[in-house]
């Protein structure tokens, strides 16, 4: 039996650029170049490793990457395909502009069901919204187990097992497939696309879907369908650079004096 792995990848504005909000208080996607959210590279990597493991043990596996995002989001899909994913699904619709996490999880869940899945792999959080909740929402909507924030994992005999480092404890988790997992940036370095991979990606299939294809009404998503409203976005005043001294042998002492003046000592 073939293991159907679906990886959710997000196209985000580059975090090293000057990210801003547009006039309607949605993320400005013009100001800064977009890219595949770096934390989703770890999800693609784990999916590829699981698929390779399957194939090595004589089973079949297929890795499909899915994104919900604007036209340019195909860049994120191409990157994942060039890393080695087999095919891609792009959900794109003008009515999606301004969708919150509830709408995004609805659309993604429908797209995943449309694709067919045994295992859904997500990143730990996007690098823009950064909520870190979408995988849990997918598990809820798909009514399957969630094994999230894994820093180490394996899939065998229809089960996923992994290590989750929580605030208070480290836990070992186990869930039967189908399941939704998310992986952290501790799970293993993501591979770079090879030249061959980049060339091959150009020929891999990308299926484009809109809301109608997924049976979703426009009112359920977008700014108007959002369950949350952003009322204001204010740029934080840049921190003012304070006194910078060069150590002449007295640097430690002078720093102690500063700390004492500020009543930290």
């Amino acid at each position: 039996m073939s293991l159907r792995i679906v990886v959710c990848v997000k196209y985000v504005p580059d975090a090293t650029g000057d990210r801003r909000f547009a006039d309607d208080l949605t993320t400005d996607r013009e100001a800064v170049d977009g890219l595949l959210s770096e934390l989703d590279e770890y999800a693609v990597e784990q999916a590829l490793r699981i698929a390779e493991g399957q194939r090595q043990s004589g089973d079949e596996a297929e890795v499909t990457v899915v994104t919900v995002g604007p036209e340019d989001a195909t860049d994120a899909l191409r990157k994942a395909l060039s890393m080695g994913a087999d095919k891609a699904v792009h959900v794109e619709d003008d009515d999606l502009h301004g969708t919150d996490v509830m709408g995004t999880s609805l659309v993604l869940a429908k797209a995943i069901e449309h694709t067919g899945y045994d295992l859904v792999v997500c990143g730990m959080a996007s690098t823009d919204g950064g909520m870190g909740v979408l995988p849990a929402l997918l598990a809820e909507r798909l009514a399957v187990p969630q094994a999230t924030l894994l820093s180490e994992l394996s899939v065998a005999e229809g089960k996923v097992t992994g290590r989750r480092d929580g605030d208070a404890a480290t836990e070992r988790l186990q869930a039967e497939l189908p399941a939704v997992i998310s992986v952290t940036d501790q799970s293993g370095e993501a591979r770079y696309p090879s030249f061959k991979g980049i060339m091959a990606a150009k020929k891999k299939p990308v299926e484009t879907l809109d809301l109608e294809d997924l049976g979703i009404e426009a009112e359920e998503v977008g700014l108007d369908g959002a369950w949350t409203v952003v009322e204001s976005a204010t740029e934080r005043p840049a921190r003012t650079k304070g006194e910078i001294v060069t150590d002449d042998g007295e640097g430690g002492k002078r720093l102690a004096t500063f700390l004492a003046e500020r009543k930290f000592v």
């Binding site: 070992r172 934080r236 002078r254």
Partner: protein
């Protein structure tokens, strides 16, 4: 009066500080009703009452410890239905956010994560978030349902506000999803004896400049003279010089202490995302051009192996 549901983060009844901060915020919106799941409710209840909980709803079952997240969602949903609150506040841990999200989608409510403040607005509770690596501050509210808001540590002071804190058992029926993900084993994090990173008033962090695990002793010595927590950059964590649980930044912890001391850390955007909202920032770095100095209230350009021991000695001397 309107009631506000507060999810309690505790370990066998020892309530963590962020939950007490949530009670301060909850009192702005109505009467706090705390939910305590798992063993230790008897120990937690008086502490929650002392900080404003009018009622304490408790449930204990093996499912809470044996299965991930979903049983707690069932319980919080039961509390939600029993109380009909005007808002639900949950501490912003990895688990807290997942519980909150699943509750929100079940009850048809808007979800806001990682709030740094919550206040009453004209159209219901308003949450403040710090976004894009703390470059922007946003305010949001729920457009649908009862707002479910997760709140970061240090969002509000802990205040004494004695209330009844009447303990009431909560009936929880677990749904079919509750037992989906089994927690096969759990090893609690060992205490370092130092303050909790996200709760500490002072944090001293070390980066790649430390040049080796053994040199983190310099950071620990400075931290201990100041009563501080120890943090690390991802470069230091990736090199295995310090545990990942101490990483500060986008994929580690967000800290917002009174004082943050960055030692041998360049100040990459992903690191700044986790410490930019600190009250006072101090940096020690041998490169005068390091971006961390742009944020620093005080900086020393120099070799950390000279500056940090001298600083530690001087602080020790001043403290007598």
């Amino acid at each position: 009066m309107a009631e506000v549901l507060v999810y309690t983060d505790h370990l066998d009844g020892a309530v963590r500080k962020p939950t007490l901060e949530l009670l301060t915020l909850a009192r702005r919106l109505g009467d706090p009703v705390a939910v305590v799941l798992g063993p230790g409710a008897d120990a937690a209840a008086p502490v929650l009452a002392e900080h404003g909980a009018a009622r304490v709803l408790t449930a204990d079952a093996p499912e809470f410890a044996d299965y991930l997240v979903a049983p707690k969602v069932d319980a919080l949903q039961a509390a939600y239905q029993a109380v009909s609150p005007v808002a639900v506040l949950v501490p912003s841990s990895g688990e807290g956010k997942e519980i909150a999200a699943r509750l929100a989608v079940r009850v048809g409510s808007g979800l806001i994560t990682d709030a740094i403040d919550v206040a009453q607005g004209d159209e219901g509770p308003v949450a403040t978030q710090s976004v894009f690596a703390a470059a922007f501050t946003t305010t949001s509210r729920a457009a649908k349902g009862t707002p479910v808001i997760t709140v970061k540590p240090n969002a509000a002071p802990v205040e004494a506000a004695p209330a009844a804190g009447a303990v009431e058992p909560l009936d929880v029926a677990f749904g079919p999803l509750a037992t989906g993900t089994r927690i096969v084993s759990r090893s609690p994090r060992e205490s370092t004896g130092r303050p909790e990173l996200t709760e500490a008033a002072i944090v001293v962090s070390g980066g790649r400049g430390l040049n080796g695990a053994e040199n983190f002793a310099l950071i620990e010595a400075l931290a201990d003279t100041l009563g501080a927590a120890v943090g690390a950059s991802r470069a230091a964590v990736d090199a295995d010089w310090y545990p990942h649980s101490h990483q500060v930044g986008q994929t580690g912890k967000t800290v917002s202490p009174q004082l943050y001391i960055a030692v041998g850390i360049s100040g990459a955007i992903q690191h700044r995302a986790g410490m930019q909202t600190s009250k006072t920032i101090v940096a020690v770095n041998k490169d005068a051009e390091a971006p961390i100095f742009e944020l620093a209230d005080y900086g020393v350009v120099g070799d950390l192996f000279d500056v940090v021991p001298a600083l530690t000695d001087e602080v020790r001397a001043r403290k007598g």
